[in-house]
Point group: C2
Chain length 337, copies 2
Amino acid sequence: MLATTDSKHSKPTGFDDIIAPVEASLHALTAFLDNQSNEFETEVREMVAYCLKNQGKRIRPVLVFFSGWPITTENQDLLVRASAVVELVHLATLVHDDILDDATIRHNSDTASARWGNAAAVLLGDALFSQALKLASDFPTVEVCRAVSLATRRVCAGEIRQTFERGNANFALDEYFRVIELKTAELFKVSCFLGAHLNGYSETAVNAAAEFGRRLGIAYQIYDDLADILGDEKKIGKTLGTDLASGKYTLPTLLLLQDGHISSKELLEIKQSGKFDHEHFLGQLRDSGIIERVHEIFLKEIDAAEAAIISVQDEFQAGEYLLRLSEFVRLQMARYS
Amino acid sequence: MLATTDSKHSKPTGFDDIIAPVEASLHALTAFLDNQSNEFETEVREMVAYCLKNQGKRIRPVLVFFSGWPITTENQDLLVRASAVVELVHLATLVHDDILDDATIRHNSDTASARWGNAAAVLLGDALFSQALKLASDFPTVEVCRAVSLATRRVCAGEIRQTFERGNANFALDEYFRVIELKTAELFKVSCFLGAHLNGYSETAVNAAAEFGRRLGIAYQIYDDLADILGDEKKIGKTLGTDLASGKYTLPTLLLLQDGHISSKELLEIKQSGKFDHEHFLGQLRDSGIIERVHEIFLKEIDAAEAAIISVQDEFQAGEYLLRLSEFVRLQMARYS
């Protein structure tokens, strides 16, 4: 891409453009993670290497790197290690999630549970968690261990709540927000916290970065849940509407329920039969204006995320990069209007 | 019990007598753990409290306290916290083990997986792991986090190997020792390491305590596996010989196999039919002298554990207490001759 005099204010829309400033760090992370499988006991290595090969967007590492900006030869190693910690925790939760969801495919590959069985996948997730905390303990102070173990505990609490609420057609809106705050926003938040903390930013800037991560995480989950219902051509191998049929009710469904467009009884019937009229459901969402309301709630979170960063823009050097990332999530969401 | 002039050399045989010197610390641990459930997010508290209520012998905390001897008003809090860390890790592994084993009863109560389902139990175990590491990060230096996360990773590796070897009638003796070293000895070892380390003992004494824990752990698992085959009236609710029928081959079976008293084919038939002639099997074990050989291997480990402690008896103040504990395990084993 040719630089223009206006390049500072141009907004790249592709994810690759947005992460270009941290491309070298992401490569360093890949090399670091590739080496990680050798750190494990021989009986786990092949499984760990397999999981590490099937990675997603690495949005959490990107948050660590941007929040730790500027990246120098002095701090890159610390930031790579911190991003490896959050990525391994994320990977561990995916391995365990796939067991709970009976998922067989993730990122176009077999899940660990499909490949090695649930028993081995439970233990593999545990080993990944342990190694994440082992890496966290390689930092000179206990701050990283503390932040990561606390975040992990909160992620588990969110997933437990989600598990217990599954199929509960009286699942309330505030319970939904509690679940996504714990299960998704917590790791986004700790990623931003670690980056800013390790770069020695002031407490105010660190807190602002953490708040950006938290709000972005909430917005991201709202987007992801909407995409699951409206259909995302990129989610190959994932059946449209699986969440609904399995009794996992997300924001659009809960708003339909709250406004009386669908009844608890109907939701229960969908769950029991495993079948529902997808077109009719989409029609209801559009006609009732629920999709617009989901967008409004999403925008409130994205706006709050951006406001947190803008409040510390004088000190916080990577504000522009983080705002491009939130802009990217905005644009992804806008495809579902 | 009345003290006698010879009391220093009397060997109490009951577990309660052996742990009497650390009774106050164990009470402090109970109070500390009771409070722990309040540290968790509200959605997990009831489950955590339930698991904490159904505790076993707390042998790992006893190892922490004895290795950290003498216990003073200054170090008791540190030792209580360290023992809570290892006990929570142990508890987390039990919760996950019970999922893998489809176990419904532990310590005469429903297992977490039987009570709340496998999905919630996976996450509960994860939350317990996380909280253990969170507590570990409350220590001023990263040593506790590092030792515990590494030990946990190794425990998982041992369990993964055991899972993959299940039903493998070519499972070799050295593989058995690798599994029990990782899955059992590692937590015994880290318990002794933490106690001695936190009390500021020399590196030599800390290493000796860790070696005591490691060897005692191996011996303890050999004892536990023999008891499972020969029948332990205390293991109420656990079917005799379940390990064999489920294809989990332990030392007595592996020796029978190695010496040609039983064939791989016979083991496979037992596993496939789920039935086997228990009396005939016990007869084979006795007639072939395998039970004596299991005792010899056990004694080699117990002797090595004790030798490690005796080597540092000048510095290491709790040697006598640890030796009473190993003597207790010896006596437990002797019931199965």
